[in-house]
Amino acid sequence: ENISDFSLNITDCTQVVVPEEVFFTVAAAGILENLLILIAVVRNKNLHLPMYFFICSLAISDMLGSLYKTLENIFIILCKMGYLTRHGDFEKKLDDAMDSMFILSLLGSIFSLLAIAADRYITIFYALRYHNIMTLRRALVILAIIWAFCAGSSIAIALFSYEAATVIPFTILFPLMMFFILCLYVHMFLLARSHAKKIASLPSSTVHHRTNMKGAITLTIFLGVFLCCWAPFVLHILLARFCPHNPYCACYMSIFHVNGTLIMCNAIINPMIFAFRSPELRSTFKKMFYCSR
């Protein structure tokens, strides 16, 4: 009767399961979209610019996140079908490798967003010196440093995930970066607003207040999407570390798969709000698709 009591208690907050078809569709869409962006940037020489390289870096980290989820699901299915043993050493190593891939994706996303925001900031506030400050070579060096750091930290975190110390910096990094990116964008936004006000004071131009609203909407979308897609998972990690027995925490942790799906949705949404806003990239896509037909 202990077991039945147990199961009764557990069924109070059962795992919310996302259907596998939904999972795989979302993951495949994310991977495809980001792959398209990479191909477009590689093929079009006009897009060999620091700005697009940072967008590519974001696309790569999104792709890694979706790829991780897909592979993990495939492995679980293989396990259920019996092709892989559950307790093997090889599987353990594979699992560690995949965990580190996921953390790499998260860190890569955060740092890519930071790089994009910093690039835009330099473009606005140091416009004339921009392509002396941000040369192609420097952009590549920055990306190499970012990815080396992310790879190192992800391997370290995956190896030492049982230590309490790894969870805390991981969850502190997230809001810190968000806050920093927010500050950069708000400063840019203030500049744009004052510029708009100045223009509005001229007699010859007509200004719509809607254009300032669009800036606010754009900025809110950027940060809101990232926050809504990643914060649930980060909270999950915190709760798993600090209160796994609490029933409230347990109920939150039961929606783990939904949180994972949100991360993959972020991989789909990010290209739309960063990459597809560029007409050059859009025209490259059109060329790619029309040539293939």
Binding site: F6, N9, C13, Q15, N46, M51, F75, I76, C79, K80, R86, H87, E91, D95, D96, F102, I124, F125, A127, L128, H131, S161, Y162, L182, M188, F189, A192, S194, H195, A196, K197, K198, I199, T211, M213, K214, G215, A216, I217, T218, F222, L223, G224, L227, A231, L235, H236, A240, R241, P244, H245, P247, C251, Y252, I273, F274, R277, S278, P279, E280
Partner: protein, 192 residues
Amino acid sequence: MSALRLISNRTSQQALSNSDYTWDYEYYEYGPVSFEGLKAHKYSIVIGFWVGLAVFVIFMFFVLTLLTKTGAPHQDNAEISDKRFHMNSFVADFGKPLESERVFSPQMAEESQSLFHFCINEVGHMNKEKESQKGPSLQSNTHFQEVPKSSGIFEEDLHCLTKFNIPNFVNTEQNSSLGEDDLLISEPPIIL
């Protein structure tokens, strides 16, 4: 992530001797979690978290829109920019790069501004002819490259400026309601 399962298993199920490492869809085989005697709803953390997140995003949005309605701090640059106004083809809902209160060396400013102005004017004329329905966009790498080569002495500077990138997020969405004349225009000179 099964790494997380490792964490929870080690802390909660030390009495269990079987392997705590399994591939499973159910990531969390909870120890004795009792759901009795809950004062609040069991999904209260979930609901509270999402409500808090929504409130935060809406709050951020309202702060940003409030910023659009309050006064501008850069009034002192108004005279300088008023003299140089003759450009009219960039979208400016966000991030127009070109003014800040920092000023670099004046002579460099002068010649750069005039060069830049010339280029922007060229682009402006090109844009007017070509892109009338969609409205000029900022990340106009292609527009820069379409500037006619007959621009003489500024040719090499135009080549430099072909690499000039202005953030692409300033471009509005597809259903842009900004017509040609609605745009916040007139690039003032760059005062950095």
